[in-house]
């Protein structure tokens, strides 16, 4: 299998864990995996991306433009920022909840994400997920990184079985938070199933 998956968001949203779970699941499924993370100064409130490359053909840790099969975006504008990476027939799964830039209160721009979502819908196949509504039953938006994996897995476009991903989640999430994370994954999967490609 050859798949390029780009995960993006804003520093602190938990994108790294999502990328690690995808990479580990693909390896568990027997594939060769490479990935790359944003680390350093950019982490502090800046845009972050993880590139996950599954398959023999990937030499570079970074996905070329026009090559990602899937973009998992934790934030509307970040999906647009990284849209050039998407294959023209790729899919974007995006959280509709905006993260305003930290400078927004000082220099208001009125950014609220709606323009970004409208643009994405015009440009590509996308599944828009209301992260706030999705995570509400679990009491924190921190579960979004696991929930979005549920959406991706159940959409059938990730190419990795749900069970394998669930096993990786069990392996990596502390016991205290495991039940809530599994429920978040399941809630995401229910959304993903509505868009399932067979």
């Amino acid at each position: 299998m050859k798949k390029d998956i780009l995960i993006c968001g804003v520093g602190g949203q938990g994108t790294v864990l999502a990328s690690k779970i995808i990479a580990a699941s693909a390896m568990e499924a027997g594939d060769l995996v490479h990935s790359a993370e944003t680390i350093g100064m950019a982490q502090r409130g800046g845009p972050v991306t993880s590139h996950v490359r599954i398959g023999e053909e990937a030499y570079s840790p970074l996905i070329p433009f026009g090559s990602a099969d899937m973009i998992l975006s934790f934030e509307p504008a970040e999906a647009v920022r990284n849209l050039r990476y998407l294959k023209p027939d790729g899919i974007v799964i995006v959280n509709s909840v905006p993260v305003k830039p930290v400078t927004e209160s000082l220099m208001p721009t009125g950014y609220d994400g709606t323009e970004m979502i409208a643009y994405l819908k015009k440009k590509c196949t996308c599944i828009v997920v209301d992260g706030e509504a999705l995570c509400r039953p679990f009491g924190s938006s921190r579960y979004f990184n696991i929930a979005i994996l549920g959406v991706a897995a159940a959409s059938g476009r990730l190419g990795i079985a749900k069970e394998i991903i669930l096993r990786e989640i069990e392996r990596r999430v502390p016991a205290k938070y495991l039940e809530a994370n599994k429920a978040a994954f399941q809630a995401g999967a229910e959304i993903g199933a509505q868009y399932e490609v067979k």
Binding site: V10, A23, A24, M27, L32, V33, H34, S35, A36, E37, T38, I39, G40, M41, A42, Q43, R44, G45, G46, P47, E57, A58, Y59, S60, P61, L62, I63, P64, F65, G66, S67, A77, V80, R81, L83, R84, L86, P88, K100, P101, V102, T103, E104, S105, L106, P108, T109, Y111, E115, M116, Y119, K123, C124, S141
Partner: protein, 597 residues
């Protein structure tokens, strides 16, 4: 066993597999995870340390290498500048056990001051350098680097770049590592004491030896030629090789020459690889190193060849390369039709800018604000330094007039006030940077009768690079609990006339200390002590009461990301607020309350 690790982890495992006995370094992105991986895997008998700075790390490792141990020293590229004094001399003296110095370059630069190229340093110091293009290769290559170092009794440089350091791959590594047996130091002052006569003799030996190493490198396994016999060839190294290889998969006729050992340049190999080639394009980041080496090689051998790269403007002179940039450059060079199919985003709405900022609740914000308020209207020089607190330059704090290199703020504050005796020189330095290269600057100030105020922003960690311990934290990388080096005692010992410690989150107290110090002569120091919020438990949360006038003073004065406007009203984001209470001390009508948890 297979483990999915970061490039830096692969480098650490490679060194451990080579039987490394001692590992030292100083944190710096993108190199920090190497020492951390070793400390985590720590086999019995291996010494691992965060040294106080790169120079110390180099010297600790040098002595171990004199003793026949295999050693690893790690740093980022600007760290190599700090360690260059011992390295330059060590290149003449040589070593006994294998010594590999990892200097991680940062094209972009993504989180560094410079776009310097460690390959140039290797050529300058006349020592070999290895340039890996992937984590898997780094794992293999560093083991070769130890062989090379021991065979030629020389320190060897190993130069990964950010994209190799921070890439992840599965490494097949042994479950257990065995350190080498250390033969011990054999005294011989003719060998280990550097004198002009020794340097003269060894210089000649080194130049002769480097020709030999270049010859040996010419058959090295990571200097390779792939593709067909095209007249137009491509030379690449490091991550640029990975980018080029991926693009050229679809064009198997193009000759791709990869250079894994930039110095001593593998001349015979390159000469042979260039047979039948009329034009060559050099793909490399940072400086046109390979490009210039090829030009020299052609000049010396009367080879007629068009050489393209950075010097001809075909490759950008600065910034990092990428698969996309290289694809574009190669399409043009090889005159290939068409473009990659991608979504046209030229009509995308304007994207929000997300500059890095100090975290919500960061005590540095409070320290800067206290100095700013206390010194309002006075003639001050605010000298910054390297660390999270460089972000104090951003609006609305705007408290960083200069930032040059590690520790420079302390000495620069002195220089400014020598030229403007009415001015008040402030230096802001973090605790880790203070130990790394701040202390000598304080001695300079005391000795030369300077007038300055040193502000040590002590958050008890090395925050920017990922929270490494340092001499003030009471922990080391061997897992020992050690005596904390007390910054106040150090300053008092040096002879700083006034040393006060304050909690920056107590605004009045902090401002009082600043005012007092500003009116005293000589060298004064304020230690702003409060832990980094990224690794301490929040004390509570702030919330806004009914009395809020919505004046927005809190937002405009301190720019904390936890203070936002929701539907026009000033609001506290409960997901970000740590309850530091700085905003509550600024509110003109006491409408912000701290609630402890």
């Amino acid at each position: 066993m297979k483990e999915y690790v970061m490039g830096n982890g692969a480098i650490a495992y490679g060194a451990l597999k080579a039987g490394v006995n001692l590992v030292s370094g100083y944190p710096g992105t993108p190199s920090s995870e190497i020492v951390e991986t070793v400390a985590k895997a720590k086999p019995e008998g291996v010494h691992v340390e965060w040294s106080v700075n790169e120079k110390a790390a180099m010297e600790v490792a040098a002595a171990a290498a004199y003793s026949g141990a295999r050693t690893l020293v790690t740093m980022k590229q600007v760290g190599l500048n700090v360690a260059s004094d011992p390295l330059m001399s060590l290149a003449y003296v040589g070593v006994k056990g294998g010594m590999v110095v990892v200097s991680a370059d940062d094209p972009g630069p993504i989180s560094s001051q410079t776009e310097q190229d460690t390959r140039r340093f290797a050529e300058f110091a006349r020592i070999p350098v290895f340039d890996p293009s992937s984590p898997e290769e780094a794992y293999e290559m560093i083991q070769d680097a130890y062989e090379c170092s021991e065979k030629y009794a020389t320190p060897v440089l190993f130069r990964p770049t950010t994209r190799v350091d921070h890439a992840y791959a599965a490494i097949d590594r042994p479950e257990k590592f065995e350190p080498n047996r250390v033969s011990g130091f054999i005294k011989n002052s003719k060998k280990w004491v550097i004198f002009p006569r020794l340097s003269f003799a060894n210089h000649a030996m080194i130049e002769k030896r480097n020709v030999e190493i270049g010859e040996e490198f010419s058959s090295y396994r990571f200097n390779t030629v792939e593709g067909g016999n095209s007249k137009k060839a491509v030379v690449a190294s490091g991550i640029s090789y990975a980018y080029a290889k991926e693009f050229l998969e679809d064009y198997p006729d193009v000759k791709l020459i990869r250079i894994g050992t930039p110095y001593p340049f593998p001349e015979s190999f390159v000469k042979k690889a260039l047979e039948g080639v009329t034009e060559v394009l050099s793909l490399e980041e940072l400086s046109p190193y390979n490009e210039e080496q090829i030009a020299r090689l052609c000049g010396r051998n009367g080879i007629v060849l068009t050489i393209r790269g950075k010097l001809t403007g075909d490759v950008p002179a600065s910034g990092e390369l990428s698969t996309n940039l290289i694809a574009g450059i190669l399409r043009k060079y090889l005159e290939l039709p068409g473009e990659a199919s991608e979504i046209d985003v030229s009509d995308a709405p304007e994207l929000p800018v997300r500059p890095p900022v100090l975290c919500a609740g960061c005590p540095h914000r409070a320290s800067f604000y206290a100095v700013k308020k206390a010194m309002k209207g006075r003639n001050c020089y605010f000298c910054g330094d390297i660390g999270c607190y460089t972000l104090g330059n951003a609006m609305p704090l705007d408290m960083c007039d200069t930032c040059l290199c590690m520790g420079a703020g302390i000495t620069m504050a002195q220089g400014f006030t020598w030229m403007d005796k009415e001015g008040i020189g402030f230096a802001f330095v973090g605790d880790s940077t203070f130990f790394a290269s701040g202390m000598t600057g304080v001695v300079n100030a005391v000795y030369n009768n300077a007038n300055m105020i040193l502000c040590v922003l002590d958050n008890s960690t090395t925050a920017m690079t990922g929270h490494q311990p340092h001499p003030g934290t009471g922990r080391n990388m061997m897992g020992d609990i050690v005596e904390k080096v007390d910054i106040a005692s150090v300053l008092t010992g040096i002879g700083v006339s006034k040393v006060v410690t304050v909690d920056p989150l107590n605004l009045n107290e902090a401002m009082g200390a600043v005012r007092m110090c500003a009116d005293l002569p000589g060298v004064k120091a304020i230690i702003f002590k409060s832990p980094c919020v990224a690794i301490s438990k929040p004390v509570g949360k702030c919330h806004i009461t009914g009395g809020c006038l919505n004046c927005g003073k809190c937002i405009k004065e301190i720019g904390c990301p936890g203070l936002i406007r929701v539907n026009g009203r000033v609001t506290i984001d409960p997901n970000l607020c740590t309850g530091c209470g700085l905003c509550s001390q600024i509110c003109p009508v006491d409408a912000i309350q701290e609630v402890t948890q």
